[in-house]
């Protein structure tokens, strides 16, 4: 069970990896994405994207500012305008 997760900014591709779960700060509330999630397209607010590499692992957090999250057949893509660090 792996979810393909991509995080891209206008300057570069920050992440492209297989993970267990990602929690995305959507405009209307945070939502977790696992493999096989139904297609969703959402705007995101400034906040933290939490990446769970495995089910039991501590989440890794990435600060993002402004953008979109898209869940499709080939996983989750987060288009962020700016990524901290």
């Amino acid at each position: 069970m792996a979810l393909h997760f991509e995080l891209v900014t206008p300057e570069r591709q920050v992440r492209s990896e297989d993970v267990h779960m990602v929690v995305v700060p959507g405009t209307e509330g945070e939502f977790g994405v696992l493999e096989g999630h139904a297609p969703v397209m959402s705007t995101i607010r400034d906040g933290e994207v939490q990446v769970y590499k495995t089910e039991s692992a501590e989440p890794e957090t990435i600060e993002v500012r402004g953008g979109f999250a898209e869940v499709g057949e080939n996983g989750l893509t987060v288009l962020a305008e700016h990524v901290e660090g």
Binding site: T9, P10, E11, M41, T43, E70, L79
Partner: protein, 289 residues
């Protein structure tokens, strides 16, 4: 004929010019690699954004479509966003962009439209001001920043969007060079506002859930799309500048080399002529005794 000393000085000055052009060529080659890498790194974002745009634009049509997508209903007032470099020493790059801009402006004016200019970069200002002094709406100065990046692109796009919201123009075109290779950078005219609807049809039949909803997402997406386009143009101009500079400086270095060879031959000839004259004088003097 120039004296020996004059020739020697001339050779010296051409030699130091050659040193400068050679250094600039090598700097451009190194910077070109970096600029190309930056342009490539930006591609995934633009591609993703395009794909999302394509799938959304088809869904939101008719009256609910935002102004940025549908236009103002008129196409009389045009704005040309022209992206030039800040520095010279890059061959015909800037003059090609200006030429393209003038051609576009003339075509639009001939159709009875009004044209204004929004200039990015220093080198386009003077030649365009010469002909269209009153039509320059704004000049965005990028010369203070070393490598114009997304922040500058965002600033330009925000300003364009404000002008659009204030009803200052109906259609905006972006004019910038597309980097093909170090030898070829083609000036391109691309429609920026209203955002052209991507043709790519949405192939996945899956029902996508939208949060908040299509209109609001599109409302957010369009300004971002404009920003990305401007950012792309800034990256292209950076790569084009270095590429054109590299080629121009390579030519200049070669020309300087040829000139040095020619001057050296001339120098040696005059030196020999001087020696021969001196010898003849000595011999003639000796014979006279």
């Amino acid at each position: 004929m120039a004296s020996l000393k004059e020739l020697k000085d001339r050779i010296g000055s051409v030699k130091s010019t050659q040193k400068i052009t050679k250094a600039k060529q090598m700097v451009a080659a190194a910077k070109l690699r970096r600029a190309q890498a930056a342009a490539e790194a930006a591609r995934p974002y633009a591609e993703r954004l395009n794909a999302v745009m394509a799938s959304l634009a088809g869904k939101v049509t008719g009256d609910s479509a935002p102004k940025l997508l549908a236009g103002t209903g008129s196409d009389r007032r045009h704005l040309l966003v022209v992206v030039n470099t800040d520095k010279g020493l890059c061959g015909g790059l800037n003059s090609n962009i200006v030429k393209e801009t003038k051609a576009k402006a003339e075509a639009l004016i001939a159709e009875g439209n009004t044209v204004e200019f929004y200039l990015v970069g220093k080198k386009g200002l003077a030649p365009i001001r010469r002909e269209y002094e009153d039509e320059i709406a704004k000049h965005f100065d990028t010369s203070a920043v070393r490598n114009p990046g997304f922040e500058e692109a965002a600033a330009v796009a925000t300003e364009l969007l404000e002008m659009f919201d204030a009803g200052k123009f109906d259609v905006a075109h972006l004019i910038y060079p597309v980097f093909k290779s170090a030898l070829a950078q083609d000036p391109t005219v691309q429609q920026l506002i209203p955002v052209p609807t991507p043709e790519e049809a949405d192939s996945s039949g899956a029902a996508v859930e939208y949060e908040p909803d299509e209109e609001e997402i599109l409302e957010e997406l369009l300004p971002r799309y404009v920003k990305t386009q401007v950012f792309g143009a800034l990256l292209e101009i950076a790569a084009s500048e270095q590429g054109a500079s590299m080629t121009a400086m390579d030519n200049a270095t070669r020309n300087a080399g040829e000139l040095i060879d020619k001057l050296t031959i001339q120098y040696n000839r005059s030196r020999q002529a001087a020696i021969t004259t001196e010898l003849i004088e000595i011999i003639a003097g000796a014979e006279a005794l």
